[in-house]
């Protein structure tokens, strides 16, 4: 039972990270109907920017840990968001009225570009986050031994997701994003600046992805230039699982996937854990072809 609860916490913190990345996929998909394959690499860049701040800049030397975390989070989000906006301008906007699969190839190309850019700057080997920030502290709760960093990661992702939910549901900008997701032309007719909405989405999505990268660095300590592919794929799976384009769906999908994965590696086999994830995905899609929260789209004839 205790082991189960430990695994549950592992799953929840990992799931929170998947959910943050998945939100970027699902928001971009919502407004552009494009799978942004470069999103996983933006996540990697977030992890590396965090690494630079910690190791090269030595941010913990000048400020206390809490402030350091806030500064790191803000810098990473700002930097990756800038890249995201640039990516959309350079690689996606010129293809907005082209066949959809052409934009997918452009996204795959951008992914290769970012991945190799990280490799050229940092080298191909693993990089290790210094473990000073959380000093291996643990939280004791109901006799359970909870590493502080996991609780922290889970809390941050929950807070960010709640904020995003209110941003999308309650603000005017959020309403504009939802409108563009439904119909570009209709949104334009009611006076929404579609380009601006797309830019906002490419600020928010990549910022969340970059933040997730930073959290993976803090949580697992080890980062590498290729890590974006597997995290990206899992997060994309999570977005599909929840119903792509659906924001609560991405959150739910991420959490479910994180739990499935840690349970699979604990009780089944670590070597097969990724396969288990995909088998579950295929089974769920067989029963619900548009994901758990995805709407059943009856085609207008």
């Amino acid at each position: 039972m205790e082991n189960f609860l430990q695994q549950l916490l592992n799953g929840l913190s990992l799931g929170g990270i998947y959910a943050l990345i998945a939100l970027g996929y699902t928001m971009v998909y919502g407004v552009l109907k494009l799978i942004n394959f470069a999103h996983g690499d933006l996540f990697t860049i977030g992890a590396y920017v965090g690494f630079t701040l910690l190791v090269s800049v030595g941010i913990t030397d000048s400020v206390d840990p809490m402030a350091a975390l806030i500064i790191m989070g803000a810098t990473v989000m700002l930097f990756v968001a800038t890249l995201g906006v640039g990516l959309e301008r350079a690689a996606y906007r010129p293809l907005r009225h082209s066949p959809r699969l052409s934009a997918v190839v452009s996204a795959l190309g951008a992914s290769i570009f970012f991945q190799n850019a990280v490799m050229l700057i940092y080298g191909a080997r693993f990089h290790v986050y210094p473990q000073g920030l959380f000093t291996k502290s643990t939280l004791s709760l109901f006799g359970l031994y909870l590493p502080l960093v996991k609780v922290f990661v889970l809390m941050v992702s929950l807070v960010v997701m709640t904020l995003l939910y209110f941003f999308i549901q309650k603000t005017l900008t959020g309403a504009a994003i939802r409108a563009v997701a439904i119909d570009h032309n209709a949104a334009r007719l009611v006076g929404i600046n579609v380009d601006k909405v797309v830019t906002i989405v490419f600020v928010v999505g990549p910022a969340l992805g970059g933040l997730a990268g930073l959290m993976v660095g803090l949580l697992y300590g080890q980062i590498t230039f290729t890590m974006g592919w597997l995290y990206g794929l899992k997060a994309f799976t999570a977005a599909i699982l929840g119903g792509i384009g659906n924001i609560p769906g991405a959150m739910l999908g991420g959490i479910i996937l994180g739990i499935i994965e840690s349970m699979a590696s604990a009780y089944l086999s670590i070597a097969w854990k990724d396969a288990v994830t995909f088998v579950v995905l295929i089974l769920i899609l067989t029963i619900r072809p548009t994901g758990i929260l995805g709407e059943r789209i009856a085609e207008k004839v």
Partner: protein, 320 residues
Amino acid sequence: MKRPVSFNPLWVFFIVIFALPPLLDPYWVDVLNNVGLYAILGISLNLIVGHTGLFNLGHAAFYAIGAYTSAILNTKYHMPILSILPLSGFTAGLFAFMVMRPIIHLRGDYLCIVTIGVGEIVRIALVNNIFGITGGSNGIFGIARPELFGYVIRSPHQFFYLIWIFLIITVVVFKRLEHSRVGRAFNCIRDDEIAAQGCGINVASYKLTAFVIGATWAGMTGNIFATKMTIISPESFSFWESVIMFTIVILGGAGSIEGTIIGAFLIIGLPEIFRDLSSARMLVFGLAMVIMMILRPRGLIPPKLRSYNVRSILERDYSV
């Protein structure tokens, strides 16, 4: 009145290519061999992606099944490698039929993630030495060279003819398939599923057919790959391979065989030309993918409308 002569520059291209190997060193012939293999894979994927409009990013799985079938039957049961060619295709096709059948109704991007998932499941299964026959991450080595009429194919120059003749057969088979009732049914599904049903096309069954044909062909290509390499391992069938095949199809021009061949030249050939850039090579490659798509969003050679010989009918029945 003269009948319109249909002339395809593709055949001139093949004649030129076949004259090349004696002039090239083995290294460049091997590059041509890889181009040929990817062109075949591209054409098989083109049927699924370009013609039927199904988003498949897991084609490497079918390629892997064919290659492993060949490798296992050859190394364990010593069957002559080329005699397994049809069987490699059959296993890959059967696999495609079984896994795609329950999920063939998934729409666009949902199908995409599922094909990626199938590709990953196959790769993970190979790495984990499933049934104890795939050799884990080391793979299988000692696969025999092909023998044709008592003549062993060994050097890149000899493989060139095997691969490129197979490519020509592929082009003929897929051209004929395209230009037929079945090919039109695939295109109808791509353009409008509801209207396709309205023409009496069983959409699910034709989608599955496209997958099975494409997978069968990729499986046979896997056989040739296995005998060319004599050693195969799971890393030859990663997601990256599926991405390359997909890019070849879209960059060349979805639905166009000529485009797919040109696409294979670019995607396999370009990195060779950038070899001097060494570590920055893939950076440039990624950038080139983005730029090429922006410059030619419909691909290098978009498919042309198929032409039918109706002039005689027009003359006979009514004046135009």
